[in-house]
Amino acid sequence: MNKTLDIKIGDRIATLELISRRSNIVEVKVDDNMYTLDMLEVEKGAYSILKEGVSYNLELLQKTNTKEYEVHTHNETFDIEIIDAESKYLMNRGVISDDDGGNTISSPMPGKIIKVMVQIGDQVKEGTTVIIVEAMKMQSEYKVKTDRVIADILVKEGDAIDGNQPLIIVE
């Protein structure tokens, strides 16, 4: 097993290396910074770290992808991604890139389809609202960013949808 991993947080990618671990005493290097930590998982996903006496409490929330975490510290929340060999390889080859969602319209939150404003085959102008989704008494309108043709509509009014589920395909 590999004890060195790259980890992405915001714009920064750091290399973490596990130097030693004896019960809850962990020696770890983050880029050039060496830490000796007393680190304990006190509840499932909740860690207590003592770094030369300074107390940190962190809670991990694993996302659907096992390599992505949301980490809650005292004051903040960070999105963290583990970059292992496989993703590194793919990144170097340029296979993984930012998906701009160009061809699908979706809602980041689960909810209910209130209104589908278009039909298959419609030619719609930049900025046209194509679908309205409601969650928790708040309606959100989803628009196309450039001129588009509606290729497919995957939901109908009244449907309950998950977050990030494709709703409409555009060309």
Partner: protein, 502 residues
Amino acid sequence: MIQKILIANRGEIAIRVMRTCREMGIKSVAVYSDADRSSMHVRYADEAYHIGPSPSNESYLVVDKIIEVAKKCGADAIHPGYGFLSENATFSDRCKKEGIEFIGPDSHAINTMGDKITARKNMIAAGVPVVPGTTEPILDEKKAIKYIQKIGLPVMIKASAGGGGKGMRLVKEEKEIINAIRGARSEALNAFGNDAVYIEKYIDSPHHIEFQILADKHGNTIHLFERECSVQRRHQKVVEETPSPLMTSKVRDEMGKHAVMAAKAVNYYGAGTIEFIMGDDLKYYFLEMNTRLQVEHPITESVVGVDLVRQQINIANGFDLSLKQENLSQKGHAIECRIYAEDPNNNFMPSPGVIEHFSEPLGLGIRHDGYVYSGYEIPIFYDPMISKLIVWGETREEAIDRMRSALFNYKITGIKTSIKFLERIMNTPDFVKGKYNTHFIQDNEDFLLPPKASKTECIEMAMVTAFINYLDKLEKISLHSTSEKGINLWKDYGRKKNVSRL
């Protein structure tokens, strides 16, 4: 005497009402939609009955279903909470007709206060100051212009049946008047089926201050002082406190008297709230009356030391008010923060989902009214408010410190919440100084945006934690696949130190 109360609501307010029922030895009955079978109010009640599909207009808003359950289970009263049917005059009448006590006012009070033009007229007649403006719907656009010239710009055009910011137009220049009137009328017609609009003077840098009142069925009416509700986002209250940092005791007395006069003008009984708008000059005007319990009622309970739901039930029982105005006083300071399942870093997008981990702050001066638990899935059909955190302190400063510390210790994972946003409000200088009005959130965007730079060490601790957790996960998988169960390969790792790099 009321023996069994049906609570025609869900979420934190249903549980809050049931708590007082339990203390008073009254049985509580929950109703629930498809989405709410696993909700806490169902678990908390003595009895619970299903009333239909998840959308509230097919369940919590269906009068017939709720009445049917109440009759079937023998409830002698219905508490509507807030929202849903709480300000529905038809529902109040229907309860009366069925011989069930509606814990709220009669339809006359609801109707009079529900229509803004009618309410304005009644308040003027009762001697309660209202915002300068018209008392009749605008029919003649020319007369409207003349009237506006008389009271002076800026003005608000408002729908008589309005609410939620719909059918409202702010007019700053004379040339906008005609368009504003026409726009407001057409929007009001669409939204409420009623195009009556009226004109009000626009109060600049306004404060939203409301008074809690209680009235029994025998004409005794008292007020329980003010609540300052100016911290608002899109006309929704976010943080409330009492006493108001703006208030003087002279103005408080006077406003309290006006609040009582307002309630008496409609023969009000039960708990209600008179909302005022106030300028920096402490001039105040009646805005509207909420004929129900407010979301923010706990801060009044904290500083006055009264259980408002118990009072509501006693009033519904026909008892005389046990509280006397001269015996009431405010002690210390209370603040409420409303915690929403929403993402403040992403335009306050609602964030329904499953609560992974939930732990709330405890200790001195902390009150918590909520309904979610670890493993609970917040449904998409209802309001995103998941809990209210209320703190009390000897002084305003102590209350702010306590709220800041309590928010800091409030942990919810699995969904996004407004907790960090609320923490930033507690740190905003204008809030700390008590110098704010309803423009507070837009005026303080810089403070309220999430902080950009974090301490490097904190970031690195977050990375280390994810790193270790991920390694442990990998190890578990590899142990499992090689069947070396029970033996922790890592234990010896420190001694061997044979680190191999990728």
